[in-house]
Amino acid sequence: MNANAPVKINRPLHWFAIATAIATFLLLGAGGLVTSHEAGMSVPDWPNSYGYNMFAFPISKWTGGIFYEHTHRLWASAVGLMTTILAVWLWLRDPRKWMKWLGIIAFFGVVAQGVLGGLRVTMHMNSLGIFHGVIAQTFFVLMCAIAFFTGGIWQKKSENKISTVPRGLRSHVLFVTILIFLQLILGATMRHQHAGLAISDFPLAHGKIWPDTNPDAIARYNQERMEVMNANPITAFQVVLQMVHRIVAIVIFTGVAAAVGLSVKRLGKKDLLTKLSIFWFALIIFQIVLGIATIWTNKAADVATAHVLVGALSLVTGALWCIIAFGHSAKLSETETAPFGAFGTFAANK
């Protein structure tokens, strides 16, 4: 197949891929609500729900935390089904070998997510909850990428009409995107301590720029806090974790702001990637506002969940920026190898 020949866009497949990505985003929200409402263990069994087949669990019993956990499981099943259909569709109808394999990866990813979520409940392991949250967002990036690759913007790359993105700018955005991913891991770790807010004030932290974390101070924080929810005691580790999360947020803000400046300078104001970087910056500002609001509302469930969702959008935006940038910068070889065209060309020329 001639790598430079455009792949015919399969519009129904493309729209289905978009629908699956949107469904995944909604599932992130459902999962976020589970943790924000501390409902992750409200259905003690899996894959059944209180002894019922999960698809036959009576609606009258969907009360309290059960409502969030059970609907999350049902929606996850729907996303699993959609992902399976997408994987089969890609295998049968997309001529690009790497796209077929992306579909297979997506299928195994959603299966792994389901199993991880179930094991988190049956094995009482908060650490699995952290993995479950992080992989959920990674999976969302994958679904968005698949939707993107099946669409027209990516296909235009193959027609070789998009300008090259400077290597320094590509590397900068890739670095910031990886930093956002690390921030997401920090956030997931914080949420799965199930300890409420380790630091309940902002911009100070327990009344200081850097809070005390000695045993007496930690004991004092726990004594002063009047829990309404079933929060675990605050620990020094959690206090430090939140401080690191705040500092990384500042670094990300600076990094994305720089990405905007560099894009304007190197690509021009009208370039798609410049516009995307401006959208990215708006997301980061919104994310910071949500983060502060999470503290000021004493971790209100809807605010905390919105913070998770905007974090996911921030990660996806950075990832798509990188995909477009690296794809645009590839010198097309005779063999179209992979989405990161520069890397694929390098491999082909070895």
Binding site: T63, M226, M229, N230
Partner: protein, 236 residues
């Protein structure tokens, strides 16, 4: 003759020797000052099943303080008494779920002692016990239907303030302290406590409250009840 004399001497010696009997340690825990205000459980207002069992929105119960400063829900125990547990033969302690709240919120048991968890509500609860990761006790999480059978647990290792919670109703939590001996109690709403049948000797007695902190005193038990009082103040 010599036999009778020997028996007489033995009985006389025993009668003359004072018998050291176990005694109780009694006392009162008081709270001086105004405790922090309790917080309404507003999340319960979204749950019709739970609110149906209350006339108004309940509040947290971190501090149970009477009109005259009587301080309830303080766990009082003797230090350094591990290895004397009689939990295996002790009567079960009861933790009930009533009105979507745990009763009591502070409980103390021995290692190996059964804890019977009841569901007196007309709604589902899950019983989720979360020990400290280093305690050696196992986490459990079980469903409990309305009108369902009581659940029974016991914990083999001592641990202060092991948390029980319901994840269906996340404002529900209780704290169970597990001791490897029987010398403990929880102060009542009148602030009074009694640790029963303490052998004679000198001890360190601890009064622990999750928010007000911990205090220790030295006490000597002879052959009559010993009295120890504690006074707590608001955290600074």
């Amino acid at each position: 003759m010599i036999k009778i004399l020997s028996i007489f001497l033995l009985v006389a010696t025993l009668a003359a020797t004072p018998v050291l009997r176990a005694a109780d340690i009694v006392g009162t825990v008081t709270f001086k000052g105004t405790p922090p205000a309790e917080i309404p459980l507003t999340q319960m207002e979204d749950n019709a099943d739970c609110m149906a069992m209350h006339k108004e929105t309940p509040t947290t119960h971190h501090y149970v303080v009477g009109k005259n400063g009587e301080f309830g829900n303080v766990t009082v125990y003797l230090q350094g008494m591990d290895g004397k547990s009689t939990g295996a033969t002790a009567a079960p302690a009861v933790l009930d779920q009533k009105g979507c709240l745990y009763e009591p919120t502070i409980l103390a048991v021995q290692t190996g002692q059964k804890i019977t968890v009841k569901n007196s509500d007309d709604c589902i609860h899950n019983v989720h016990a979360i020990p400290s990761p280093t305690s050696g006790n196992q986490e459990v999480n079980d469903p409990q239907q309305p009108g369902g059978a009581d659940l029974t647990y016991s914990f083999p290792k001592p641990e202060m303030f092991l948390k029980f919670q319901c994840d269906v109703h996340p404002w529900m939590f209780a704290w169970v302290s597990v001791f490897d001996h029987p010398y403990f109690c929880v102060s009542g709403t009148d602030g009074k406590f009694t640790i029963k049948n303490v052998p004679p000797g000198k001890y360190t007695i601890v009064a622990a409250h999750r928010k007000a902190g911990e205090q220790t005193q030295e006490v000597e038990v002879k052959d009559a009840n010993a009295t120890v009082n504690f006074t707590f103040e608001p955290p600074k």
